[in-house]
């Protein structure tokens, strides 16, 4: 028996086609849920073949081209056009810099601090020429969309003259990137362990960012994180996007990591965007708080909760600009983690006592104490926020 073909046209507000990942949630006649996905083509056309008499309940469209908010649309039975809204121009420091107390007028923030990143999918370009790339995997051709490791590095230290000032946390920090990803776009623990040791022992980094994880603790990663701590290296890790039903992922939950969950800003993201939907989904008094400089905030609905969430940092609707052009809009604890990593770089670069310490467990403990003093509860339940939201001293 044939199904019903539904076509969507993904376009911008002027009717130009946009290439995007489109996900549709479908309710079948029997009441079952189905999730279908498609990629819009060069004409903006995304086609779904639905089971007979089923209905689309909502659609999410995530642009593969920069410059657009991700879209969320309900009641799309008769909907054929998915219009992606343009991102606003960037002409003032982003809310995440304000949230973290970063002085955007200081171009040298983070200078002298070396950050290691273990991740995947790094694509170099304007603003990231300074990044030292080790153990690179072959990229057959630049895919469209954005690269995960690239986005992490741009949040940390994009040196584009304008972006570095307005969007990036620690543009003057040194960054060493190690690609430990495999063909599945995941990381194997042997590659990740080797990468972390290399950053600690050979590259002598000061801080490491890990925007990945797994539900189960892992012996190899546990032991190399212990090595990092013994050698005075602080490790910051994302707690995962498994939602409020889940515990923080590993390695964020390791005792030698600072685990970072994601925070959203209430007034950020226009109606009809995925960010707006995240805000609605996070509408619970336990998840609501206030950061004095920026106003009402919320613990992101997809951020994990419980012991292992040490802090929250901006991670919803984050703009990552590529090559001085338009931005991608991204959400995830992957992007909250480099916010904290970059903040630590900014703070430690100005901390003379830290700079004089030998690379030892004592230095790691010093950073943990200094970081704790930077964190303030913001009114969100402790299970969601840990010690709160950090701010530059």
């Amino acid at each position: 028996m044939g199904g019903d073909e539904i076509n969507f046209i993904v376009q911008d507000s002027r009717g130009n086609p946009v290439r995007a990942d489109v996900l549709a949630r479908v309710r079948t006649l029997g009441g079952d849920e189905l999730y279908l996905d498609a990629v819009s083509d060069g004409e903006g056309l995304a086609t779904f073949l639905l089971p007979p008499l089923s209905q689309i309940e909502y659609v999410v469209a995530a642009s593969r081209q920069p410059g657009f908010w991700n879209l969320f649309a309900e009641d799309v039975d008769d909907f054929e056009e998915l219009v992606l809204q343009s991102l606003p121009a960037i002409d003032e420091p982003a809310w995440w810099l304000e949230c973290l107390g970063i002085d955007s007028e200081n171009p040298d923030r983070g200078k002298g601090i070396k950050i290691g990143v273990v991740d995947g999918d790094f694509r170099n370009g304007a603003g990231l020429e300074h990044v030292v790339q080790l153990m690179a995997t072959e990229q057959p051709e630049p895919p469209d969309g954005w690269g995960h490791g690239e986005a992490v590095c741009r949040i940390l230290a994009d040196r584009d003259a304008r972006v570095g000032r307005l969007l990036s946390i620690a543009p003057a920090a040194q960054v060493v990137f190690i690609d430990a990803s495999n063909e599945n776009d995941t990381l194997n623990e042997d590659a990740a362990t080797i990468a972390i040791r290399r950053l600690v022992v050979e590259e002598k980094v000061d801080i490491i960012n890990l925007s990945w994880g797994n539900a189960s603790p892992n012996d190899a990663i546990r032991d190399v994180l212990n090595l990092a701590a013994e050698f005075g290296v602080t490790v910051v890790a994302a707690t995962g996007n498994e939602g409020f039903q889940s515990q923080p992922m590993y390695p964020a939950s390791d005792r030698n990591c600072i685990g970072v969950g994601a925070l959203g800003l209430d007034k950020w993201g226009p109606v009809g965007t995925l960010v707006e939907w995240y805000r609605k989904r996070s509408n619970d008094v336990k998840r609501q708080g206030n950061v004095p400089r920026i106003g009402q905030v919320y613990a992101w609905c997809d951020s994990t909760i419980g012991a292992g969430v040490h802090v929250l940092a901006p991670g919803v609707g984050i703009f990552v600009q590529r090559n001085g052009g338009n931005s991608f809009e991204l959400s995830g604890t992957s992007f909250a983690s480099p916010m904290v990593c970059g903040l630590l770089a900014v703070a430690l670069a100005a901390d003379k006592q830290y700079l004089g310490l030998p690379r030892s467990r004592g230095r790691t403990n010093y950073v943990r104490q200094a970081f704790k003093s930077m964190c303030r509860p913001v009114g969100i339940s402790k299970r969601y926020q840990g010690s709160g939201v950090p701010s530059a001293p």
């Binding site: 999730y35 991740d119 042997d190 925007s211 892992n218 190899a220 939602g243 997809d302 995830g332």
Partner: protein, 91 residues
């Protein structure tokens, strides 16, 4: 049946190795384990191996006091739009 496992220097040996006070070769330690193949990694720290299940305990004893042996794990990146994440939207 084959097991895929990760063999990695334990915490104490890892520190010794990093400090330069001792060097270890996991490849030499596990060379005698029948059926074992090294799939990837760095023998001075961690390797991913494949071995017949019947020899897994043999492998563990071959590296005892030097290495941890555990199942292989893949870590996922926490930023890519994931269908599982989007699926929770309607909960």
């Amino acid at each position: 049946m084959k097991d895929k496992l990760v063999v990695c220097l334990n915490a104490a040996r890892m520190i010794e190795s990093a400090q330069g006070s001792a060097q270890y070769d996991i490849g030499a330690m596990i060379k005698s384990v029948p059926s074992l193949t090294i799939l990837s990694g760095d023998p001075s720290l961690a390797v991913r191996v494949e071995v017949d299940q019947q020899y897994t305990n043999y492998l563990r004893s071959a590296v005892q006091d030097f290495c941890t042996v555990g199942p292989t794990v893949e870590f996922k990146l926490f930023g890519k739009p994931q269908a599982a994440s989007l699926r929770r939207l309607a909960l």
